[in-house]
């Protein structure tokens, strides 16, 4: 049985009490421990910096050429915090409640409450670091509202909050690198986890410049490696985002939780063709002022698609502002899963727009009339520019075309309240873990979670683990486990390099993406998922027999890098399908057509599925074992989510 280690006691006191109950490591002993941090995004950089400040020795790894480039940087809209600076009724409890509800009651109460509790500290911390948040004329911090909430609690830095927060964490990290407390390894990819006596004690990495396979030892390993959205090939993730570190950990005994929970973000630029390498997201904040619509009739949509009429030719009464119509109280600001699903519904109904018909409008005409073009430019200028660069259409003059795209994965490595995985000494932070967002994440909450885990949770919980080790001995670098794991990594690389078939790795990745999007995307059925499982298995076979991988290990080898990542996606894809099949209910981003209300909303089955699915690896080409962590709701009542 999975033990989440949630402390006893009232919700509001759990974290304070737990902080007191945890063991501490004396300052002089902290420098005897080494902690490995994989990934340098918000979670990784903040954790590495905070741990180094405490006195631990830290090694960080990232595949990019600098820690500053982690994909947290692309987050646009903002970061939530229960500061109640706007005096609009916000509180820690309300943020907790919104997040639990937004996640469709599939998250752990205690974790979410802690997240809401430390959210305010994050803003303090970032401001102290010099993060240039948006401000009011009086010099105090400004807020905006975001999807799934009726208060304004989102702090932002124009349209690049993620970048500014990451640069803040990166600056804290740099400070520790300068002090010699952090050793940073860039252009390094983690390829495996090293376990000694069941505990995580190191990682095997590949230096992506020299190809050198290196073993690094540490007393604890923190996976801060982000999500696995690139399993869909097309997503808003960066090109390099991958599941390899988490997947290697899974194969070494860390359970993987809720892999089917993927978030499809409603406001992305639609696909234009087969050549497309990624999708571009535009901040959810656009829905503050943009109105989503499609024509009321299929005939009109058809004319639009053929270019016979322009959007401006469609009269007000012929437009269907479907989110405002269906959800009058939240309107265009319904949570992401709801907005995405409704867009898909319109397209499936033949009322989509754009050449492909796979898009809906996001219209700023009313906002421009109300506020003036300059005010709209001040709020969203960079997003409008980005849209213009990509589409060659001017959104000040005609409505944007948007369509949902894979954006975030709520599922991830299973962790307990201390963020420890099922492998002792191995932790997962940020998007890499499964913990706080349930089946759907609210906007502006990913940044909050990454920084909460890194700045304010892990510095306490790692200490507890290390203090309980009972000794301060360095990890034995010569332990055979290192050599053993290294040789396994090397033989896998050799196996990949021998592949000399006819399909490129990208070909196979694209096929996998099509399968995932078709059968495990916005709408899922038992039939489709079963079919997908077979298709993925076949594709995996084809990969290992017919893929083409070029070059040698001891050079910068793009082909090899991709192949290793896609090989892992091909395994993960199947687990996602398994999980989606198992979860015979709809919740949040997981929508099973078999389980919907009469109005077509996601219908949960609380009697049978109020649990976290945690999958245990049982061997290659063998079925994973499902473990369940029952979700206990002591504070909120489970209701059908309504944003009407």
């Amino acid at each position: 049985m999975l033990n989440s280690k949630v402390p006893a006691g009232p919700l509001t006191e759990k974290w304070s009490k737990h902080k007191f109950d945890m063991k501490l490591v004396n300052p002089a002993n902290k420098r005897k421990f080494t902690i490995i941090v994989v990934g340098t995004g918000l979670a990784g950089a903040s954790a590495a910096a905070s741990l180094a400040e405490l006195g631990y020795n830290v090694k960080t790894f990232c595949y990019q050429d600098s820690p500053r480039r982690a994909h947290s940087i692309a987050a646009q809209g903002g970061i939530n915090a229960a500061k109640n600076y706007q005096n609009d009724g916000d509180s820690v409890y309300r943020l907790f409640y919104d997040t639990i509800k937004g996640g469709d009651y599939r998250a752990r109460e205690a974790n979410v409450y802690r997240l809401a509790e430390v959210s305010a500290n994050i803003i303090d911390q970032c401001v102290a670091q010099g993060v240039p948040f948006a401000r009011e004329y009086g010099g105090l911090l400004d807020n905006r509202s975001f999807g799934g909430a009726q208060v304004s609690r989102t702090f932002y830095a124009r349209g690049q909050t993620g970048q500014q927060l990451l640069l803040g964490a990166y600056s804290a990290l740099n400070r520790q690198i300068k002090k010699g407390k952090v050793k940073s390894y860039t252009r390094h990819e983690m390829l495996d986890l090293v376990k000694i006596d069941g505990h995580a004690r190191g990682v095997i990495t590949r230096d992506m410049v020299s190809g050198k396979i290196e073993a690094h030892e540490g007393h604890a390993v923190l996976l801060c490696t982000g999500g696995y959205g690139n399993v869909f090939f097309l997503s808003t993730n960066a090109m390099g985002c991958n599941v390899t570190a988490a997947w290697r950990a899974y194969k070494r005994g860390a359970f993987f939780a809720n892999p089917c929970y993927t978030q499809i973000h409603p406001t992305c630029i639609p696909v234009t063709g087969d050549h497309q390498s990624k999708l571009t997201l535009m901040s959810e904040s656009l829905r503050n002022d943009g109105r989503v619509w499609v024509p009321k009739t299929q005939e009109m949509s058809a004319k639009l698609r053929k270019g016979e009429i322009k959007p401006s030719d469609i009269k007000e009464e012929d437009r269907d502002y479907f989110l405002e119509r269906k959800y009058p109280s939240f309107g265009n600001l319904v949570p992401r899963d709801v907005a995405s699903r409704n867009a898909k519904e319109m397209v499936d109904d033949g009322r989509g727009v754009g050449k492909s018909g796979v898009a809906v409008f996001l219209d700023f005409k009313d906002a421009i009339n109300r506020l003036g073009e300059d005010a709209v430019r001040a709020r969203y200028g960079n997003l409008f520019d980005m849209y213009y660069q990509i589409t060659d259409e001017n959104p000040y003059q005609q409505p944007m075309r948007i369509y949902p795209a894979v954006h975030y994965t709520m599922g991830g490595v299973w962790v307990d309240y201390n963020l420890m995985t099922t492998v002792p000494g191995l932790y997962a932070l940020g998007e890499a873990n499964f913990s706080d967002h349930g089946a759907n994440r609210l906007g502006a909450s990913a940044l909050m979670q990454g920084l909460s885990d890194g700045y304010f949770v892990i510095p306490y919980t790692v200490g507890d683990y290390l203090a309980n080790l009972g000794n301060f001995n360095p990890v034995d670098k010569n332990h055979p486990a290192f050599e053993q794991t290294r040789s396994e990594v090397e033989s896998r690389i050799n196996k990949l390099l021998k592949l000399n078939g006819t399909k490129t790795v990208d070909d196979i990745h694209k096929e996998l993406g099509h399968i995932m999007w078709e059968y495990c995307g916005m709408a899922r059925t038992a039939e489709g998922l079963t079919k997908a499982k077979g298709l993925i298995q076949e594709l995996r076979k084809e990969f290992w027999s017919n893929a083409k991988v070029l070059g040698e290990n001891d050079e910068m080898n793009m082909s090899l890098e991709k192949a290793g990542r896609v090989a892992d996606f091909l395994e993960l894809g199947e687990l996602m399908v398994d999980d989606a099949l198992n979860r015979n209910e709809s919740c949040g981003g997981h929508f099973r057509l078999e389980s919907q209300t009469e109005e077509g909303e996601a219908k949960r089955d609380d009697a049978n599925f109020t649990y976290v699915s945690a999958w245990e690896f049982k061997g290659d080409e063998q079925a994973a074992t499902l473990h369940k962590e029952d979700l206990v709701f002591e504070n909120v009542e489970l209701t059908q989510r309504s944003y009407k």
């Binding site: 905070s50 400040e53 990019q64 050429d65 600098s66 820690p67 500053r68 480039r69 940087i73 692309a74 600076y85 500290n121 303090d124 911390q125 970032c126 401001v127 102290a128 670091q129 010099g130 240039p132 948006a134 401000r135 009011e136 010099g139 105090l140 911090l141 830095a157 690049q160 993620g162 990166y170 600056s171 804290a172 740099n174 400070r175 690198i177 300068k178 808003t236 960066a238 090109m239 063709g273 050549h275 497309q276 390498s277 571009t280 997201l281 980005m386 660069q389 990509i390 060659d392 700045y455 304010f456 510095p459 006819t502 490129t504 083409k548 070029l550 050079e555 910068m556 793009m558 082909s559």
Partner: protein, 257 residues
């Protein structure tokens, strides 16, 4: 419908940091004008891979203009022919059928070529490590609104903070100077109240590291500002100079340590 075009690419190929590189001519056929420049390179690389030839290595990641990983000097312009965008945001509609495109890596002694079009920009990290931060630990921080910052100041600090560290300023500068990059970070903290305590030490430490990395000196041509995808202004360099000279000539406490 999308227009299609055939292009001739002259691409810098270099096996590793020790070998000598050269230009290699590659054809890019049937390229749609709504592709991004990097998607065009993806297609070229897929073709090369199918033929069993080593694909062209280039740095890229987010492909939405914010991570700063992509680079490339395209027909003599960092990030290509358009202003205010990164290479990943450049679309093929900026080119025409039959055109020859010369693609080179950033060229600077401080940015050695690692392979083909990818260069080592860790010099930028080392400059940041020299002082691009406020010395605060996690925790024990006063409430965020305890430090009011006038909106004008906050906005200007933000403008400086938008630098993505791509290195286009160095690539564009005829002297391979990194002063726009360095000054942007110095400016951000010189403007904000949070940065005041270490303001003058920071300027000196970052400039020293910049010099040690072997970047050239600014001759105020303005090329960096023109080519910066984020529009970082030249006035940041003036501010950096001011900070540095103030530290050197008017701040005794910082000079005699």
């Amino acid at each position: 419908m999308a227009q299609h075009m055939n292009l001739t690419l002259k691409v810098w190929r270099q096996k590793n940091d020790k070998s000598k590189g050269q230009f290699v001519t590659v054809q890019a056929n049937d390229i749609a004008d709504d592709m991004s420049f990097l998607e065009m390179l993806d297609i070229v690389n897929e073709d090369l891979t199918r033929k069993g030839e080593d694909p062209i290595y280039f740095d890229h990641d987010c492909r939405e203009g914010i991570c700063g990983m992509c680079s490339l000097v395209i027909n003599g312009r960092p990030h290509g022919p358009k202003y205010g965008i990164t290479t990943c945001q450049l679309h093929m509609r900026s080119f025409h059928n039959g055109q020859t495109i010369v693609i080179e890596p950033w060229r600077a002694a401080a940015f050695p070529v690692l392979k083909d079009l990818a260069v080592d920009r860790t010099a930028f990290d080392r400059i940041q490590q020299a002082g691009g931060y406020v010395n605060v630990n996690t925790g024990g921080i006063p409430d965020a609104n305890a430090i009011p910052v006038p909106k004008r100041v906050a906005d200007e600090a933000f403008e400086s903070a938008t630098c993505i560290g791509c290195g286009a300023c160095v690539a564009a500068c005829k002297n391979a100077s990194a002063m726009l990059f360095v000054s942007a970070k110095i400016s951000q903290f010189a403007l904000l109240p949070q940065g005041q305590t270490e303001r003058y030490e920071r300027a000196q430490a970052m400039v020293d590291q910049m010099d040690a990395e072997g970047f050239g000196s600014c001759t105020n041509t303005g090329a960096c500002e023109a080519e910066c995808p984020k529009g970082i202004k030249l006035s940041n360099i003036a501010r950096m100079n001011r900070e540095y000279f103030s530290a050197k000539f008017f701040r005794e406490e910082d000079v005699h340590q």
